[in-house]
């Protein structure tokens, strides 16, 4: 199994055809007779041929690799990030592409390096901020890119994300329909809003607008993820808003703590306080009681990002922004 790798020349010799014929069989870029095709494929299989990625990239000017750029900042919920990552990898494989992992430590230089060296054909960036330093670079790059998340200025970019404004509004609507009049949004840590992370702000905007629209009263508070902070915030909320009966939680790491805090203060869910979370399904299902939630469809977002990138690589034009419609799953907390 070790030793030198099989080359296309050996396959060609074994099948009794020219090297170029083997190439065309494999790429399907020219018509090949059924007979030849079969002979070649047989040889490929018996010899265990795998095209050399470097040679292929050099000759075709396509590496068949895309970069996935993960920032890994404070306040990001890692499991969600990981869901994105795996769905990107899976989707990329379906287009016969591999995924190179780039982290933020290297900053824009890493992106430039990977692109300029033709290591990758395109990029998917995650966790994009409203004023992301990487964005100007992307506009200059010859390589196409897709952002997961929306920066402030999307001109010349391709962005995908869950429609967080609608997600926030959807939670409000659900609570309104259940008759709740006074509600609150418990959000991400303050730093996440300050940094200008789009999805946190957009959720809050959706929440606020929907509160007005449905004629409710509502407050939105940021919240750290330690149990003590969550408990403090919840306590403050319950005290200042005795009429509060509905809570929207948009902070994956804090959802568990929120339920713990409510329990501690003697509030039953959903009898005393209804809770809707914006979080992955597994967190919602694993809670006690299982939470009514709006799923962050990481799977779909990742797949869509890759699809868009592949379209761009093929030279097709794609929409600037793609917002996925949120869907609410009703469980036992409302």
């Amino acid at each position: 199994m070790s030793g030198r790798a099989v080359t296309i020349a050996e396959v060609a010799r074994h099948a009794g055809v020219a090297v170029s014929t083997v190439s065309y069989v494999l790429s399907g870029k020219r018509a090949i007779s059924a007979d030849t095709r079969r002979r070649v494929l047989d040889s490929v299989r018996t010899l265990g041929y795998h095209p050399n990625a470097g040679a292929r990239a050099l000759a075709s000017r396509r590496a068949n690799v895309i970069a996935l750029v993960l920032p890994l900042r404070a306040g990001m919920h890692v499991p969600v990030l990981m869901q994105f990552a795996t769905s990107v990898v899976t989707a990329a494989r379906r287009y016969d592409h591999d995924v190179l992992l780039l982290t933020a430590d290297e900053g824009p230089d890493g992106i430039r390096r990977a692109a300029a060296s033709a290591l990758v054909d395109g990029l998917v960036l995650m966790d994009v901020e409203l004023h992301d330093t990487r964005v100007p670079l992307l506009r200059q790059l010859a390589e196409p890119s897709v952002l997961i998340g929306f920066p402030a200025d999307t001109t010349g970019l391709t962005c995908v994300d869950l429609d967080f404004a609608r997600a926030g509004a959807l939670c409000v609507q659900h609570l309104a329909e259940r008759g709740h009049r006074e509600i609150a949004l418990l959000g991400a840590p303050g730093v996440v809003y300050d940094r200008g992370t789009g999805f946190a702000r957009r959720t809050r905007e959706g929440f606020t607008e929907a509160v007005a629209e449905y004629g409710l009263t509502g407050v939105a508070l940021p919240c750290e993820e330690t149990f003590d902070e969550v408990a403090r915030t919840v306590a403050e909320l319950l005290e200042r808003r005795p009429g509060l009966t509905g809570l929207v939680v948009h902070n994956e790491a804090a959802t568990g703590h929120v339920l713990g805090a409510l329990r501690q203060y003697g509030r039953r869910v959903p009898e005393d306080v209804a809770v809707v979370a914006i979080c992955p399904d597994d967190i919602a299902e694993r809670s006690s009681p299982p939470l009514t939630s709006v799923l962050v469809p990481a799977e779909d977002v990742g797949r869509e990002a890759v699809r868009l990138l592949m379209d761009k690589l093929e030279g097709r034009t794609v929409p600037d922004g793609t917002l996925l419609t949120p869907r609410l799953t009703i469980r036992d907390s409302t």
Copy 2:
């Protein structure tokens, strides 16, 4: 910034030297006069030259890319996985290598493909099981690999991990020193043990042996990660073992729930029950009270894995197994 990329030939022309000279300047594989070196480096900078990765890989038979194989199975704690992943990427960059992300969906085929196509020079595998199906393949591969985690049979392999047996024992020792006589281990979900994931079992073994060694009584229970299951397990434990005063938690996702459950049953931490966790520092610090814990040094393990892989790539011989020594940080829960 877009348009065709700068080639080594253009750099050579610009600097007034031969292509090979530029190559030698960049690789340092032959002596070059200080003057020439400076001229070449200047040209590289002003032209913005980045060597074409494909061409380099083809000619040098080194892709300068390593694969990171992530399984992503049930019961794995994702943030820890992510810590590994980022530390591997960071470490690899220090050796001028990039990281290709491979997931388990493709199974061994993905590994074979990446290796056979010379896409990667070597592999780092994470979350290795005692009887991992990928292990036999690794032995056949020409490409070197390093495992994070220990399979049952490590012959011909290179493995790194935290010494979980000692970690388990260290927790017991700490509790024993604080005078606790009756303790318990609340572990990973049953499926993790059944699957034969090494670190879970080894922790349990270390726990059990240390319990005997220090003359304590102790039980080890697996535990699912939902709040209800944790609460049930804790309740059962408190009921069946009224004398229980010490708890070791080796289940990242459940640590928060454990504290919640203890609170719910009126047990104070650490006054009534002392808790030691095996988990990342951020989880321990974010809990209430902050937990005495043994850190899973993902950072160190990842870095070490890359170092070993680079050694193997250079043809150096490396030890079969590397176990990192656990360290206990005392906080407020014991």
